[in-house]
């Protein structure tokens, strides 16, 4: 899809996925969902957007089918925090099951902040789930990266992501 005035460049693979997460796997999404998450990030700016990633695990890959944007419940600090209410999770999970899907993870944006997980992200993360982070700088979408919590909860590991439209692979840098 052509985007007026913006040449899209997706981050390249910079290192192989670590073995520190027992259930590490690749995450596959279509450009359509990527762009929907970008639109959510733009619309929410300068606040953080958040939502649920629905799809299926297939032979060691997580394949995204749809996203469900959710209300950021952190009204006290929406520019650098997000919270998904448990009742929204329950509704999303019910919707997923009705469609034969699972909750694969969550996305959120970092307004004017790199697409890297913070300590706060890590402290509140669950294993197995994919955490997609979109950097939005001055209202424009930048990098999007995917992360998995290590089994010892000590760190976030970059998760390899594939755009299923053309097979482009990319993975976040684990450092700064």
């Amino acid at each position: 899809m052509a985007r007026a005035g913006v040449a899209r460049s997706y981050p390249l693979i910079v290192r192989a996925a670590s073995q520190q997460a027992k259930h590490i796997m690749a995450f596959e999404l279509r450009r359509k969902e990527w762009e929907r998450i970008e639109k959510e990030g733009i619309a929410a700016y300068p606040e953080e957007c958040c939502g649920v990633l629905l799809g299926k695990e297939q032979e060691g890959r997580k394949v995204l089918s749809d996203i469900v944007p959710l209300n950021n419940a952190r009204k006290d600090s929406p520019r650098n925090r997000f919270l998904i209410l448990p009742e929204d999770f329950v509704r999303s999970e019910r919707e997923a099951r009705a469609r034969g899907l699972d909750i694969l993870g969550f996305y959120h944006s970092h307004p004017d902040h790199p697409a890297r997980p913070s300590d706060y992200d890590r402290e509140h993360a669950w294993p197995w789930y994919t955490y997609l982070i979109l950097a939005v700088e001055k209202g424009q979408p930048r990098d999007m990266t995917g992360w998995l919590l290590s089994d010892d909860r000590a760190s976030f590991l970059p998760e390899e992501m594939t755009l299923s439209d053309d097979g482009t692979k990319f993975e976040a840098r684990s450092g700064t």
Binding site: L83, P86, E93, P111, W128
Partner: protein, 105 residues
């Protein structure tokens, strides 16, 4: 009497990959006790060392958080569905606001 317990994806590795499990019990505590008896590795993910439900774990009876019902003593009946619901939160560091100021034109 058994009720259905919905298992979120990260915890299915401890429930033989089952996404829901039928468990006996008259109260939420009884159901969770029987569930963690059957799947021992699940216990440390639901309860702290002191035996309390972890703060980032929520239990719902149908559409209601048991913290606002009778907590662990909340009664369950056969048609009820219990969900183990993870708290999901995060966000950029506190530096985000500062960076935002620095990058303004």
């Amino acid at each position: 009497m058994s009720v259905k317990v919905i298992i979120p994806a990260p915890l299915r590795q401890y429930t033989e990959k089952n996404d829901s499990v039928l468990v006996d019990g008259q109260t939420v505590d009884e159901v969770l006790h029987n569930l963690t008896e059957r799947y021992g590795d699940l216990r440390k993910h639901l309860y702290s060392d002191e035996g309390k439900l972890r703060s980032f774990v929520n239990i719902y009876r149908n559409d209601e958080d048991i913290r606002y019902l009778d907590k662990g003593s909340t009664a369950v009946k056969e048609s009820d569905v219990l969900s183990i619901v993870p708290s999901i939160a995060g966000g950029a560091t506190a530096m985000a606001d500062g960076l935002s100021l620095l990058t303004k034109d």
